[in-house]
């Protein structure tokens, strides 16, 4: 709500040493996110989008440049910044309820409040009946919902989502995108979502950040001025999507013609699926 950006990423560069070669995952990236905004980041594999997300969340701190959250420099993870990973990463030895409650493990709330908050968030993601189930008893979509509940339960100021629906089938994915959008509009939590799915980026984002690889940079920021909930079949939606796609195509074909997975993967700290967004 303030005039200064809620989350300010300024001239951030991140380099990794891979086989004694320096690889620049991010080069001079700047991005400001307003409070309550939904920003989506889209790009081909190796464009540093996940790196940027991890830096924003404070899970990685080896960068040059500055990242500030509400004016405070980000120097590590914080309960103010939640994260949802691509895989749900639930602990298989805990029930769904206990997994979600982990988000409150270090929050200053009473035991009764904890219970209430967990129940509320299970309801929010539609898992009320599965509180006592173990993760292996859930489908992929249900497990990811539990992961989202764990990220939300502490009411973070910003929620970072790293390709949260990447591993799901199309129907479950569309359904969860809708649910995430309604949670966002109800709860007014700032959300930053990384994806390689242009459709998802346009459907969810107030702005779509298009990134280009090697080195990872922001190519364009596309505002999406469409009313919510958005109709994926509308002409206006198609226009924005075409714009983003075109921008993305430029990122992979202009500079070096064919990104090879072998080149692209080592840039990220963990292996990312090599998915060619453009052909």
């Amino acid at each position: 709500m303030s005039a200064t950006a809620h989350l300010a990423i300024q001239n951030v560069t991140r380099q990794f040493m891979v086989n004694s070669r320096i690889i620049t995952a991010l080069q001079d990236v700047s991005l400001s996110v307003a409070a309550g905004e939904f920003v989506t980041i889209v790009g081909a594999s190796g464009c540093g989008k996940s790196t940027l997300l991890r830096l924003g969340a404070g899970l990685d701190t080896g960068h040059q440049g500055e990242i500030r959250h509400r004016g405070e420099p980000v120097r590590g993870a914080s309960l103010e910044r939640g994260i949802v990973f691509q895989e749900p990463r639930l602990f298989p030895w805990l029930t769904v309820e206990r997994n979600v409650a982990l988000g409150l493990e270090n929050a200053a709330v009473s035991k009764a409040d904890k219970k209430r908050l967990v129940d509320e968030h299970l309801e929010l993601v539609g898992l009320t009946g599965f509180a006592k189930a173990y993760p292996h008893q859930l489908s992929g979509g249900m497990a990811q919902r539990a992961g989202i509940a764990r990220g939300l339960v502490n009411r973070p100021d910003v929620l970072f989502l790293d390709e949260p629906f990447g591993a799901l089938d199309a129907i479950t994915k569309a359904h969860l995108q809708g649910e995430l959008q309604s949670i966002w509009s109800r709860e007014k939590i700032t959300m930053i979502l990384v994806t390689h799915d242009v459709d998802e980026a346009v459907f969810l984002g107030d702005r779509v950040v298009v990134m280009s690889p090697r080195p990872g940079r922001i190519r364009e920021i596309v505002p999406v001025d469409l009313p919510r909930p958005r109709d994926r079949t509308s002409a206006a939606f198609a226009t924005v999507r075409a714009h983003v796609l075109q921008s993305l195509n430029g990122t992979t074909s202009a500079r070096d013609p064919r990104p090879t997975p072998a080149d692209a993967t080592p840039v990220l700290p963990r292996p990312a699926p090599a998915i060619a967004v453009a052909r």
């Binding site: 993870a77 602990f91 029930t95 292996h136």
Partner: protein
């Protein structure tokens, strides 16, 4: 409630079938022992091996009955079991502590692991001559040898378990700002449990091996002693009974371990 529903759906149609399958598997497990017994019986009946070397199953059975009636067998099993349990308990606790310490701290690993690995390479029985001179041939010797047998696999497996905790889980712990204790209690230890159980299982096997070894060399009671005594006196029935007793006790212990492991890891899909 949902958990119940899930299992009920699985079990509802198949309860009798599950039972039949379990019975079948139990019977299948008996087939091989039965075949061996039959082979043994035939071999003895036909005189394929001299009776001094392979006594007839009936003799062995009679000897077993006598040893049970006189309480001898129970006594020797008791003596050995006590040694194994004490030695194993000490070895497992030390191994768990050492494995956790080395797993959590690279400094401890750097200080301790090279020596430990060298120490582990020396066979348990190789320690006996030196230990005999240091502590004599009493109970202490046996307990120390068994402790060493259990300690090595327990330490190495616990260490591996702690080092193998997925970095993805640890990242979740970071994101949720877990304290060191929360990391250990909520993430590292539960994730390492399967390895720890492998360590317990190997540790127990090694404890038995060490027990028999040390009793062979220096004991006047216990199952290892029975083996040596039986061989020296050419009482092969006694030897076979001692071997069977070790096998049966080990089998029961392993079963108990399995149950405990399954109880602790209820979250794993139970195999039907």
């Amino acid at each position: 409630m949902a958990v119940l529903t899930v299992t009920e759906v699985h079990a509802a149609g198949g309860a009798p079938r599950v039972w039949r399958k379990r019975t079948m598997r139990g019977l299948t497990a008996l087939l091989l022992p039965a075949a061996l017994l039959l082979l043994w019986w035939t071999a003895s009946d036909r005189g394929w091996l001299a009776e001094q070397i392979l006594p007839h199953p009936v003799y062995v059975f009679e000897a077993l009955r006598d040893m049970l009636a006189s309480g001898d067998l129970v006594y020797h099993v008791g003596v050995s079991l006590r040694r194994v349990l004490i030695g194993f308990a000490i070895g497992a606790c030390l191994g768990l502590a050492l494995g956790i310490a080395m797993g959590l701290s690279e400094r401890v690993e750097d200080y301790v692991k090279p020596l430990f690995l060298a120490f582990a390479q020396i066979p348990t029985l190789g320690w006996i001559p030196l230990l005999m001179l240091l502590v004599g041939i009493g109970e202490t010797l046996k307990i120390i040898v068994i402790t060493k047998g259990a300690l090595v696999p327990m330490t190495l497996n616990t260490f591996a378990g702690i080092r193998n905790v997925s970095p993805r889980y640890l990242e979740v712990a970071d994101a949720l700002r877990f304290t060191r204790w929360q990391r250990l209690r909520l993430v590292i230890l539960p994730a390492a449990i399967p390895f720890v159980f492998t360590g317990i299982r190997y540790g127990l096997t090694h404890a038995w091996t060490s027990l028999v070894g040390v009793e062979l060399l220096a004991s006047s009671e216990g199952l290892g002693y029975l083996l040596v005594w039986g061989r020296q006196m050419f009482w092969l029935d006694t030897v076979i009974i001692a071997m069977l007793a070790i096998g049966v006790v080990g089998f029961i212990m392993d079963g108990g371990l399995n149950r405990t492991e399954r109880l602790i890891q209820r979250w794993k899909r139970s195999e039907i």
